[in-house]
Amino acid sequence: EPEVTQTPSHQVTQMGQEVILHCVPISNHLYFYWYRQILGQKVEFLVSFYNNEISEKSEIFDDQFSVERPDGSNFTLKIRSTKLEDSAMYFCASRDSVGTEAFFGQGTRLTVV
């Protein structure tokens, strides 16, 4: 069964460092998303990506964040200068069209120290 793959599963980084989280969405999907979940809290939307551009972003997704689809398969989330409060589980998701279920990856646990 096709699945969304995220790497790494766990990333520890120093405050102020840049991190790139990697995702390989399901191959025939067109809509891509990043969400995050701070420990013990609800899953929060960060950004959606369609047709090689950001289609929507939340207030969390500030100038420190960027997304890229550098080739036909990868979808990355970059945090330029990490803060302690960026520590969270980051989930990538994809779906084939609007109105269908979103498939989530297993997540990357980011720990900023």
Binding site: Y35, K42, V43, S48, G99, A102, F104, G105
Partner: protein, 112 residues
């Protein structure tokens, strides 16, 4: 309450019993989805119900949607210890944002 709020926040039942979780939301939706999350793991899609549907079944799962009350319920019948997880409802708006808005979740503990 915020968009996609579940209740109860926590539920503990015995194996074999049914578990019912409720979700309320505020805005108009295109669809509502339920996800399961085992501790520290990814989100597993369970079922999607569209705004023009009232009830949907999938195995031991039954989901209802009442758009007039802006609420949904997830029923897990004949629960098993393996059903122990957090369950989240997530709504997709019918206009504007198409991303999912998640609730706070219900932590279900099924005692063997």
């Amino acid at each position: 309450s915020q968009q996609g709020e579940e209740d109860p926040q926590a539920l503990s039942i015995q194996e074999g019993e049914n578990a019912t979780m409720n979700c309320s939301y505020k805005t108009s939706i295109n669809n509502l989805q339920w996800y399961r999350q085992n501790s520290g793991r990814g989100l597993v899609h369970l079922i999607l119900i569209r705004s023009n549907e009232r009830e949907k079944h999938s195995g031991r799962l039954r989901v209802t949607l009442d758009t007039s009350k802006k609420s949904s319920s997830l029923l897990i019948t004949a629960s098993r210890a393996a059903d122990t997880a957090s369950y989240f409802c997530a709504t997709a708006s019918d206009t504007g944002r198409r991303a999912l808005t998640f609730g706070s979740g219900t932590r279900l503990q099924v005692q063997p």
